[in-house]
Amino acid sequence: MGIKRLENFMTTEKQRGFETDFTLDAAVYEVWDEIEVGRKAKAKQTFLIKEEDILSYNMSALEDDPLFVDPTAARAAGHDHVIAHPLFAVQIAFYCIEKGPGNWLRSPGARNPGQKMHFYEPFRVGDEITLTTTTHDKWVRRNNYYLQDRYDYHNQDGTLIAVWYATLLLPRDRAELARFAAVSGEAS
């Protein structure tokens, strides 16, 4: 596992079981020059939404509205559970992809140029989300190597809940990725 102090912030079962050292196993991550546009894959695992998952995301968003962070208050106001911040979609994607198809999302040395996300339904407790990743585009601009996957989030009924066009500037090739992964750090 990675940096010890991060354990102080873990409040959910999924977090406690998740590999936090992203430099570990970087040798198996997909890299820009090997990925083909159009590649489609089902993510490694599904995400069964629990209230603790939503709560964790809302707390990290520094929300203080009881509808987001207080289950009792949310129920008293007529909701079944706390309301999910729409960008809770991020936690779902990292969990579902893990080290499977689309794992370039974890690349050390990557940079985030901005993102586009669409939301069609709220994320609800009890939904089991299946994530499908499709490599939507890759391009070079000003010597930066961009990769974009489309993530489709469907629930157990097949309802499309959200779409995220996930884009990063990536290390171009395996050698560059390996160079970042080899840098010594606290997690080493």
Binding site: G2, I3, R5, L6, N8, F9, M10, T11, K14, Q15, F18, E19, T20, D21, F22, T23, S56, Y57, M59, S60, A61, L62, E63, D65, L67, F68, I83, H85, P86, L87, V90, Q91, F94, Y95, R106, S107, P108, G109, A110, R111, N112, P113, G114, Q115, K116, M117, H118, F119, Y120, P122, F180, V183, S184, G185, E186, A187, S188
Partner: protein
């Protein structure tokens, strides 16, 4: 806001600011909640050498900036029944640990579409402690009639 009606909204109407200091604890909490443990956010020693953004410091998640930009809309209108349909943002500069992130929004488009379908576009900006723009974007938001 307890009541929100599309017909009451005007172009350039501002939404309340969302502002937060970005400490390492903030970043760590975010890493755990996002399940994004990229060392550029969490590994202080790794950042000193790797300097992915040209700084020896850790930087906040870009998705934290986008989360707070979205929160401008949520905190203003969620309780009144608004629904965020989309968020589209560009992140123009990294946010180093120790900065304060300030996010603002204002209505820039009105789309009257009839019962239950009308929406607005909110223009969003995020700036750091020095006032440098770190993010710009737009959220499309369905508003009650």
């Amino acid at each position: 806001m307890t009541e929100l009606h599309f017909s009451d909204l005007r172009i350039n109407e501002p939404l309340p600011t969302v502002s937060h200091a970005v400490s390492q604890d903030t970043i760590d909490l975010c890493a755990v909640a996002h399940l994004d443990f990229n060392p550029v956010h969490t590994d202080v020693e790794w950042c000193k050498t790797a300097q992915v953004f040209g700084t020896p410091k850790t930087v906040a998640h870009g998705m934290f900036t986008m989360t707070l930009m979205t929160s401008v809309v949520l905190r203003a209108w969620q309780r009144a029944g608004a629904f965020v349909n989309s968020i589209d943002a560009k992140l123009t500069r990294p946010v180093e640990v120790g900065q304060t992130l300030r996010c603002d929004g204002k209505v820039i488009e009105l789309h009257p579409r009839g019962p239950g379908q009308s929406f607005v576009v909110v223009g969003l900006t995020a700036v750091n402690t020095q006032g440098d723009t770190v993010g710009v974007g737009q959220a499309q938001v369905t508003i009650p009639d």
